[in-house]
């Protein structure tokens, strides 16, 4: 029953239950807005979004694995491809491209041309430091941590800051080997 690794998330995307895109976008906008009101500091909002994303990612990985039938990725390169082509498609309905690999193959960029989260969004002058989509970087970090990859995810380009695309830099810090969880004296 060797599961075939899907090269795109189209099939899965067609099968999962979806919500209205505008409802999704507006709900996310409302969350960010509320965070800005509650926390006041833009920096704090970035942190909070990242944390929320992390908590989502920790759970989302299981749904991703169960629905997409992906077993194991051979290396980080394959992992990045799968996130870009299958993961983003499955949960956001868009695909990203993977570029800018460094020499060691431990960090790369995920470029999103199209981002459903930012429809109707404009950053006011007071929020220029806000990474509006910071939740995404948290999701990726959380999900990868559950498959034993410690990563660092940062924004390089952001359309809301006037760039031409969204670019996420994903850096693999280390792969954590499986450990025997019990101590001998327990």
């Amino acid at each position: 029953m060797a599961p075939v690794v899907p090269r795109s998330g189209d099939a899965v995307f067609a099968n999962v239950e979806r919500v209205n895109a505008e409802l999704f976008t507006l709900t996310y906008g409302a969350i960010v807005r509320q965070l800005l009101t509650d926390l006041e500091e833009v920096e704090e909002v970035n942190k909070q979004l990242d944390q929320m994303g992390y908590n989502i990612g920790v759970r989302l990985i299981d749904e991703f694995l169960a629905k997409s039938n992906i077993s194991r990725c051979v290396d980080f390169k394959e992992t990045a491809e799968v996130i870009a082509k299958v993961g983003f498609k499955m949960f956001l309905g868009v695909t990203a491209t993977v570029t800018n690999w460094d020499v060691e193959g431990t960090s790369c960029s995920l470029v999103l041309e199209d981002n459903p989260l930012v429809e109707f969004v404009e950053l006011p002058d007071t929020c220029q430091g806000l990474y509006y989509c910071n939740i995404l970087s948290g999701v990726i970090r959380g999900a990868l941590e559950m498959v034993s990859m410690k990563t660092e995810v940062t924004w390089v380009r952001d359309m809301l800051h006037g760039d031409d695309a969204y670019e996420l830099r994903v850096k693999l810090i280390k792969q954590v080997p499986e450990e025997y969880p019990y101590k001998d004296d327990e």
Binding site: R59, L65, A66, K67, R72, M146, S148, P177, Y180, Y182
Partner: protein
């Protein structure tokens, strides 16, 4: 069967009612025990249907089971004649390294095992004549996602408390 999470899971996975090779499938009182572990060795769920003999207390039993699977995976990877990338026996494996076993059989029971890359381990102990249960285990993993992971009240890494509905589907 309809899930609240959409029909995807039901369509994607074959019905567990009749895995090939069995007359009764899981339904006919075939299953003895079920364990679910997470990556940290926490037993998220344990259920038994038919287990006349208990030799250890539950905690010891679960710990032994986890230890057995952990060592067996490392052992099977070491014995793998087809792959160069073996690692050393006893040295922790990186995810994706080596191979993984999916069942073993004794004269009195059969143990079927599935591990997801996120470290969720599903173990089903059944009658020795049960056929291939990998599809059934995959199906149960889907149930785990629908009923446990998607439950906002569930704290990741804690034992599954309100497992009744989950279990009802699993043993059908």
């Amino acid at each position: 069967m309809q899930f609240f999470g959409g029909s995807a899971a039901a369509e994607m996975t074959p019905s567990p009612a009749a895995p090939p090779g069995t007359a009764t499938g899981l339904a006919g009182n075939n299953a003895n025990m079920l364990y679910i572990f997470n990556r940290n060795g926490v037993c998220l769920l344990y259920r038994e249907w038919h287990r006349p003999l208990h030799t250890l207390d539950a905690q010891q039993d679960q710990k032994l089971m986890f230890g057995l699977l952990f060592s067996l995976r490392s052992f099977t990877a070491k014995m793998d004649p087809t792959s160069v990338d073996k690692g050393n026996l006893g040295v922790p494996l990186l995810p994706g390294q080596g191979c993984s076993f999916y069942s073993f059989r004794t004269n009195t029971y059969k143990l079927s095992f599935m591990e997801s890359p996120s470290g969720i381990k599903l173990i089903l102990v059944t009658h020795p004549k049960t056929g291939d249960l990998r599809d059934a285990l995959r199906y149960m993993y889907n149930l785990y996602v629908e009923y446990v992971v998607k439950n906002p009240l569930y704290v990741p890494g804690s034992p599954i408390k309100y497992a009744n509905r989950f279990i009802l589907y699993a043993i059908r």
